[in-house]
Symmetry: none
Subunit: 208 residues, 2 copies
DNA sequence: ATTGCAAAGGGGAAAAACACCCTTTTTTGC
DNA sequence: GCAAAAAAGGGTGTTTTTCCCCTTTGCAAT
């Protein structure tokens, strides 16, 4: 039976083209192509779709690879997913692996190797060395990680809303927001809201 | 007769996938896929290959889109080429257009629009995304309305420095900085430093 | 010379952000 | 169920940012 694949990539042209390529492999079928994590989220929830593998672009505007992976890990811990990146940003990659991502591909891989990587992930579960992965996973998890609420909060920090307004929007006490802010300052070694905003932008926690 | 296309993109996976997509259009055929400008150069010279359109990635390691376009303009002034970019970097885009590039596509265009763009370039000679163009003009216009000092100041707003510290750095009174801030708030219809920081980042007044 | 105008600098008050230390409620893992 | 941990909320004081209205300086044009 052929393996089902879901592609998540904001570059529609690439996503659709990749679908064409994958479909040309006898033993793989692309079940869907989504533009961002949010679309995946919605469709994974309602449609009883459990693909053998999700190919996840890292840089996406609405809900990026990291966020999506974080969500996937919580909601569908067994779901296999693989990062698909443009440039290999080590930091983000490490985070992805830490979140249980099964491997990663840079987009300049050639189609043959790509096929091999797919086979490897679907069969063995991993594309790169298993032990290294597990090691990384343990290390990363203990490192910095944000709570759901903190991540949600990060989406507001690069707007012109005051903390009070953000609190209202999130239906929380301003004091709680103050707590998130404080917690993030410590975790990220940041001292001001501007620093937080820049971090959020850099790491795709918000769209500007 | 079907139109011939050449794709130049260092991301082999993307290039090959795109080839698949283009070949799926009845009236187009991909004659070749190259990894960079140099490959294109060599092949365009020796093989008597004159495609109807060259799709040119901008960011490539060996010989990038700009260089390639420059060479094309000299060697084959009539050759139609179109930029294919990941993120829309205005500056480079402007240069490309200056070099006679026939249009530009961001890679998150959807396949239908992509097809339309191809048709447009091959038929009319040009394709430019309207929104992108308007965005570009707006940004360019806005750049000239700041003073030298204000622009210098903008480079500091997305750091964690306080205004007082920025003033010290610029050897100005904090009150003067306050004036720049105020002036920029009015000009840009912004109400907070975060807004200013986001503006500065968006419009490349500072690097993050 | 004088008007004209923009950049630079200032005072002071109110709002927002930051910091630190603390309590209550809710989850979560045996 | 219970203890531990995480999330949410609180009090209070300091610093920074924001806002408005004001003075001085320098330069430029008629």
């Amino acid at each position: 039976m052929s393996k089902s694949i879901v592609i998540v990539d904001d570059h529609v042209l690439f996503g659709q083209s990749l679908k064409g390529l994958v479909d040309s492999f006898d033993d793989y079928r692309v079940k869907a192509v989504y533009k961002n994590g949010k679309e995946l989220q919605e469709n994974l929830r309602k449609m009883d779709l459990r693909p053998d593998l999700i190919l996840l672009d890292i840089r996406m505007p609405v809900m990026d690879g990291l966020q999506t992976m974080q969500w996937l890990k919580q909601e569908f811990p067994k779901q296999k997913a693989m990062a698909l990146t443009m440039e290999d940003d080590e930091e983000i990659l490490l985070k992805m692996l830490g979140l249980g991502c099964r491997g990663y591909l840079v987009k300049d891989i050639d189609p043959d190797k790509f096929k091999q990587a797919l086979d490897s992930v679907v069969d063995t579960g991993y594309y790169v060395d298993k032990e290294v992965m597990e090691e990384l996973e343990r290390k990363e998890r203990s490192k910095e990680q944000f709570s759901e609420r903190e991540i949600e909060f990060l989406q507001y920090v690069c707007t012109e809303m005051t903390y009070k307004e953000i609190a209202a929007e999130m239906r929380l006490s301003p004091k709680t927001i103050d707590g998130y802010r404080e917690s993030l300052f410590v975790k990220l070694d940041i001292k001001s809201r501007v620093g937080l905003a820049v971090y959020a932008i850099k790491n795709n926690f918000c769209t500007i």
